[in-house]
C-alpha cells in the first residue's frame, strides 16, 4: 500500500508541476501573437495588410501592401472604401461607383458579411434541442419559436407514421408545460419518413437566433450523408433533400458532411458552409445551392481558423493554420470575385510562438507539458506536448544534470536505496517536474 | 514459560541523540512490572516501541511471543493499553463507549466496567469530555479491565490524578491481578504508590537498564546507612555495583546492596570514618532517588 501511495503522490506531484510550471512560464514569457489582418483592395490594389510592429518596446500598427511598402493611414483607407466607408463618407472621399458597380450606403451594408469558423465552435458541448423558426409568420421580424425539436431517431428504428404513444423519431417539446406536443411531433416524424430521411443524424446546422434577416432553416445530414433542409411554413414542416433541387446534384450526393454552419445574410447568398469528413470546406451558394469548394490549400478544421468576408465586390477567404510538426503557422488568403472565382492568393508564414527563445527554453525545462482547456475544443480534454526532436539533446542533458544533483542529494541525506528508483526515474524523464516532488515526498519507511 | 513482554537489545536514536542503548528485559506471565526512570530516561520511547508507534533503530520487541510491529489482531485483543493522560473519545458517554468497545473483544465483560462506573458521580448521558480527570481515568481503566486482557500496559496511569483516584486505581489493579493470571507493565513517577504493588522493577538511567530485579529483593537487599559528615566524605557512584555515597550537610548516606559489616568495610576502604553508622529504613522512592540521583 505504502509504495502505491508514494508512487501516486509522485505521479500527482509531477503531473501538477507539468501542468502549472509550463503555464506559469508561458504567462511570464509569452509575447503578443502578431497575426496580420488581411484585406483585399476594392480598387485593384491587391492584398493589403494591417500589421502589428514592435518598435523599441512599443507596438504600433502599420499598414502595408503586398510588396511590403508602408502606407499612410489615409491612403490605406482610401484603397478600401467598402471597408472604411464610414470614415470616407465623413471626409467626403467616398467614390460613388467602383469598378462599374454603384455604391450606396444601403447596398454596402446589405452586402457586407463576416463568417468565422473556429475549431472550438466545431467541437463544443451542445444541447441537442433545435428551435425551428416559422419562416412565414407574416411579420417583419422573426420570432423566437415557442417550442424545440428533439431528434430521437436512431439506426434501425422504423417509426411508423401517424400519432401514437411510442417515442417518435422527431419530438417537439413545449417549454411552457415541459411536455411533448404529440401532434406536431407526429407531423414532423411523418415528414421525415416521407422524405426518406435515414436516421441517425450525422450533422446538423442552423442559426438559432431571431436576430437575423430571415431563417434559412435547419440543415440535417442523414446516415447516408445526404443533406436535407428542414423549414417550417405556417406550422407545417417542409423537408427536402438538397440534392434533388440543387444545381449540381452529383456533388451533393457525393458530399459527406461533418459540420454544417449556417449564417444568414440579407442577400440570401450564403446558404451554408459545409466541412466534409475529409476536412474540406464547401460553400452552398445561391438559390439552387451551388456547391463551391473553397480553394484553400491547407485547412485542418480541428486546429485552424477559417474566415470568409464578403462585400459588394469581393469575397476574401482567410485561413490561419496553427503550427504543426514540420510546418510553421501560416496565413493563407484567397481573394475571390462574387462568383467565387479565384482572383489572387497570398501566403505567408507567421512567426512561430514556439520558436521564440523563451518558448524553446521552456520546452527544454519542461519535457512534458499538459493542459485541459485549449482553443481547439469547447470540451476539456487532455492535451500534451513533449520536447521536439531538435531540443531533445538539450533536454536530456538538463535531465541528466538534475539526475546527478538528485543522486548527490540522496547520498548526502544517506537515503540512496533501491526504493528510490521511481523517484530517480521521474527526474530522468521529467526533469524538474519529477525532481521537486521526489524531494518533497515523505519516505515510505 | 514464554515471557509476555521481551525487549531484545533495543537501540534507538532521535537524530543523533541516543534514546535507548542496548535495552533488554522481560516480563514473565502473571507478574506486575514497574518501569521506572527519570524524565528522558527512555520509558516513553520503550512504550512507543511496545505499542509499535515507533520503529527502533535496532533490536526487537516481542509481545505475547509476536513481534510488536506485526501483531495479529487476535493478539491485539489480548493486550490492554492505557494511553498517558487517560486519552479516550470525549464525544461518547459511558454507555456509548462501552457499546463501541464491546464489539472488538471476544472476552468482553461489561459487569466489570459498569461496577467501576457505579462508583463515579456522573449522569449516564454525560459526555466523557465533560468529566473530571479522575472520572476519565476510571472510564479508561474500566474499559481496559472489561476487555479481560492477558497483558495490560499502563503508560503513566497517575498523570493528573489526585491521591484519592490514584489510590483507587492501585486498589483496582491490585484486585484485578490477584488471580495471578494477568501480566501488567506500569510506568509512573509516583513511586510510593508502587511500593506494594509491583513484583518486578526495571529502572532506566540515560537510555540504559540500570537495574532489573524483583521488587522484594530490591526492598530487602538495598540498604541505606547514614553517618555524620566529615571532611573526608566525598560523594561517589558505582553503577556497576549499585553503590552510592551522598554527602549531606550534617549527615551523609551510603546506599547499596550491603549488610552493615559490608557497609562499614566499604567506608573504611574509602577512608571515610563512620563511627555512628546506622541503618535507616528506605522506601522504594528513596531507593529510586538514590540510584538515579536528584539532579
Amino acid at each position: 500500500m505504502r509504495h502505491a501511495a508514494r508512487i501516486f503522490l509522485l505521479l500527482t506531484g509531477a503531473a501538477l508541476l507539468a501542468h502549472y510550471l509550463p503555464l506559469g512560464w508561458h504567462i511570464l514569457t509569452a509575447g503578443r501573437q502578431r497575426v496580420p489582418y488581411v484585406y483585399y483592395g476594392d480598387t485593384g490594389a491587391g492584398f493589403l495588410f494591417t500589421r502589428v510592429e514592435k518598435a523599441g518596446g512599443d507596438t504600433r500598427l502599420i499598414h502595408t501592401d503586398a510588396a511590403g511598402r508602408a502606407l499612410e493611414r489615409d491612403t490605406f483607407e482610401s484603397l478600401l472604401p467598402l471597408t472604411f466607408h464610414a470614415q470616407l463618407y465623413k471626409t467626403g472621399a467616398m467614390p460613388k461607383e467602383i469598378g462599374g458597380v454603384a455604391v450606396t450606403p444601403g447596398a454596402l451594408r446589405r452586402e457586407q458579411f463576416n463568417l468565422r469558423v473556429r475549431p472550438d465552435q466545431l467541437d463544443t458541448p451542445l444541447v441537442p434541442l433545435h428551435p425551428v423558426f416559422e419562416t412565414d409568420n407574416g411579420r417583419a421580424r422573426l420570432e423566437i419559436p415557442p417550442d424545440f425539436m428533439r431528434i430521437n431517431g436512431a439506426a434501425g428504428v422504423a417509426d411508423a407514421p401517424g400519432p401514437g404513444a411510442r417515442r417518435r423519431a422527431i419530438e417537439f417539446l413545449d417549454p411552457k408545460t415541459n411536455t411533448i406536443l404529440p401532434e406536431k411531433s407526429a407531423l414532423y416524424t411523418d415528414a421525415f419518413a416521407r422524405a426518406r430521411f435515414v436516421f441517425p443524424v450525422t450533422a446538423a446546422g442552423s442559426n438559432p437566433t431571431a436576430r437575423k434577416p430571415y431563417d434559412e432553416g435547419i440543415y440535417l445530414a442523414d446516415a447516408e450523408g445526404q443533406v436535407f433542409l428542414l423549414r417550417q411554413a405556417r406550422g407545417r414542416p417542409g423537408l427536402v433533400r438538397v440534392a434533388d433541387h440543387a444545381a449540381d446534384p452529383a456533388a451533393w450526393r457525393a458530399l459527406r458532411p461533418r459540420h454544417i454552419i449556417v449564417n444568414e445574410i440579407e442577400t440570401r447568398e450564403l446558404r451554408a458552409l459545409i466541412i466534409d469528413a475529409g476536412g474540406k470546406p464547401w460553400l452552398a451558394v445561391g438559390e439552387n445551392h451551388r456547391l463551391v469548394p473553397l480553394p484553400v490549400t491547407r485547412y485542418n478544421p480541428a486546429a485552424d481558423t477559417l474566415s470568409l468576408r464578403g462585400n459588394l465586390l469581393h469575397r476574401l477567404l482567410v485561413v490561419q493554420t496553427a503550427a504543426a510538426p514540420g510546418a510553421a503557422p501560416a496565413l493563407e488568403a484567397v481573394a475571390l470575385d462574387r462568383d467565387y472565382r479565384v482572383l489572387d492568393r497570398h501566403h505567408e508564414t507567421l512567426p512561430d510562438p514556439a520558436a521564440r527563445p523563451a518558448a524553446r527554453a521552456g520546452r527544454v525545462l519542461f519535457p512534458l507539458a499538459w493542459w485541459l482547456a485549449g482553443d481547439t475544443s469547447g470540451y476539456l480534454g487532455f492535451h500534451a506536448r513533449v520536447t521536439p526532436r531538435d531540443l531533445l539533446p538539450a533536454a536530456a542533458a538538463l535531465n541528466a544534470l538534475l539526475l546527478a544533483a538528485h543522486l548527490l542529494i540522496l547520498r548526502r541525506n544517506k537515503t540512496l536505496a533501491p526504493a528510490r528508483l521511481p523517484d530517480l526515474a521521474a527526474t530522468a524523464a521529467l526533469g524538474l517536474c519529477g525532481l521537486l516532488p521526489a524531494l518533497l515526498l515523505p519516505r515510505a519507511g | 514459560m514464554l515471557p509476555v513482554i521481551e525487549c531484545r537489545h533495543l537501540t534507538h536514536y532521535y537524530g543523533d541523540k541516543p534514546a535507548l542503548l542496548d535495552v533488554s528485559w522481560l516480563l514473565r506471565p502473571g507478574r506486575i512490572c514497574g518501569l521506572l526512570g527519570r524524565n528522558g530516561a527512555g520509558k516513553t520511547t520503550t512504550i512507543n516501541i511496545l505499542n509499535s508507534f515507533l520503529t527502533p533503530r535496532s533490536g526487537r520487541c516481542l509481545l505475547l511471543g509476536e513481534d510488536s510491529h506485526q501483531l495479529a489482531p487476535r493478539t491485539k485483543a489480548r493486550i490492554g493499553y492505557l494511553i498517558e493522560g487517560h486519552i479516550q473519545y470525549g464525544f461518547f458517554n459511558i454507555n456509548q463507549i462501552e457499546h463501541f468497545y464491546s464489539r472488538f473483544y471476544p472476552n468482553w465483560t461489561p459487569a466489570i466496567y459498569y461496577h467501576l462506573m457505579s462508583k463515579l458521580d456522573i449522569t449516564p448521558r454525560q459526555r466523557i469530555a465533560t468529566m473530571s480527570c479522575g472520572q476519565r481515568s476510571q472510564v479508561a481503566l474500566g474499559l481496559i479491565l472489561a476487555q479481560n486482557p492477558d497483558l495490560i500496559i499502563f503508560d503513566d496511569y497517575s498523570m493528573g490524578l489526585d491521591p484519592g483516584y490514584r489510590r483507587l486505581f492501585i486498589e483496582v489493579i491490585h484486585d484485578y491481578a490477584a488471580d495471578g493470571k494477568r501480566s501488567i507493565l506500569l510506568t509512573s513517577h509516583i513511586i510510593q504508590d508502587l511500593e506494594n504493588l509491583i513484583d518486578d522493577c526495571v529502572i532506566y538511567q540515560q537510555g540504559r537498564v540500570l537495574l532489573d530485579l524483583e521488587a522484594r529483593r530490591l526492598r530487602d537487599g538495598f540498604r541505606k546507612y547514614t553517618f555524620a559528615t566529615t571532611p573526608a566524605v566525598a560523594g561517589a557512584r558505582d553503577d556497576a555495583r549499585h553503590l552510592v555515597i551522598e554527602r549531606g550537610e550534617k549527615r551523609s548516606a551510603l546506599h547499596g546492596f550491603l549488610d552493615e559489616p559490608a557497609a562499614r568495610a566499604e567506608l573504611a576502604a574509602r577512608g571515610i570514618p563512620a563511627p555512628d553508622l546506622r541503618p535507616e529504613p528506605a522506601t522504594l522512592e528513596d531507593i529510586f532517588i538514590a540510584l538515579t540521583g536528584k539532579y
Binding site: D147, K176, L372, P442 | T75, F100, F104
Partner: protein, 223 residues
C-alpha cells in the same frame, strides 16, 4: 467491527452532519425557489433559451459547497483523532491498521455523500419540473466534478491531519489545491464529460494518501 467503527464516527459527527445536511438542502431549496421565480417571471421559452444557448443552470451557485463540506467533514472527523494523538486508540484496536483507517474514510465519504445527495435530488427533481431530460444530463456532468472535488477535499483534509510532519502537510495541501482547482473550472454544461472518468479515478486513488499518512504515524516516521 466495521459497524462499531461506523457507530463511533456517527456519534462523533451526527450533530455536524445534520447541520450540513440541513444547510445543503436549505441552499438547494433557495436555488430551487429562485428558479421557480425566474420561470414564473419570464416566458418559458426564454428560460429554455438561456439554458440551451447561454448555459444558464440554476444550481451553479452550489459549486463550492461540496468542497467546503468535504474539508469541514475531514476536519471534524480527524481533528479529534489527531489531538493528543488519539488515533493511537484506533490503531490499537484488534483489527488491521489499514483496515481501521480505511473504515474511517469509508464512513466519512458515506456521510459526505448522504449530506450532499439530498441537495442533488432537489436539483434533479426541481429541474425536472421545468426542463426536459437533456437537462438532467447537464446536471450530471456539471455537478459530478463538484462532488468529486468534495470527496477529494475530504480525503486531502484527512491526509493532512493524519500526517505528523508539517513540511509534508504543506506539500499535501499544495497538491490538493493544485489538483482540485482542475475540478472546479468554469463549465458550459457537458464540458467535463471527457475528463470525468479520469477525475473519478484520481479521487479513488487519493484514498491511498491518508492511509499512507496513518501508516507513517504508526511507524513513527516523523522525518
Amino acid at each position: 467491527m466495521s459497524r462499531a467503527l461506523f457507530y463511533k464516527e456517527w456519534i462523533k459527527l451526527r450533530l455536524w452532519w445534520v447541520l450540513m445536511l440541513a444547510a445543503g438542502v436549505a441552499f438547494a431549496l433557495v436555488l430551487f425557489f429562485k428558479l421557480r421565480y425566474v420561470a414564473n417571471a419570464n416566458e418559458a421559452v426564454t428560460v429554455w433559451n438561456a439554458w440551451i444557448f447561454k448555459g444558464w443552470l440554476f444550481f451553479r451557485p452550489f459549486q463550492y459547497v461540496p468542497l467546503v463540506f468535504g474539508v469541514a467533514l475531514g476536519l471534524l472527523q480527524f481533528l479529534p483523532e489527531v489531538q493528543a494523538r488519539r488515533v493511537r486508540l484506533v490503531l490499537h484496536l484488534p483489527l488491521g491498521e489499514t483496515r481501521a483507517i480505511a473504515l474511517h474514510l469509508a464512513a466519512g465519504l458515506l456521510l459526505l455523500a448522504l449530506a450532499l445527495l439530498p441537495a442533488a435530488l432537489v436539483f434533479s427533481l426541481g429541474g425536472a419540473l421545468w426542463f426536459p431530460r437533456e437537462w438532467q444530463g447537464n446536471l450530471f456532468h456539471v455537478l459530478t466534478p463538484w462532488l468529486l472535488a468534495g470527496a477529494g477535499a475530504y480525503l486531502a483534509a484527512a491526509a493532512v491531519l493524519l500526517e505528523t510532519n508539517w513540511r509534508h502537510r504543506v506539500f499535501y495541501l499544495l497538491l490538493a489545491a493544485g489538483a482540485l482547482r482542475l475540478f472546479l473550472l468554469e463549465t458550459f454544461y457537458d464540458t467535463c464529460a471527457r475528463i470525468l472518468p479520469a477525475l473519478a479515478l484520481w479521487v479513488l486513488a487519493l484514498v491511498l494518501v491518508p492511509l499512507f499518512s496513518s501508516h507513517r504515524f504508526r511507524k513513527g516516521l516523523v522525518r
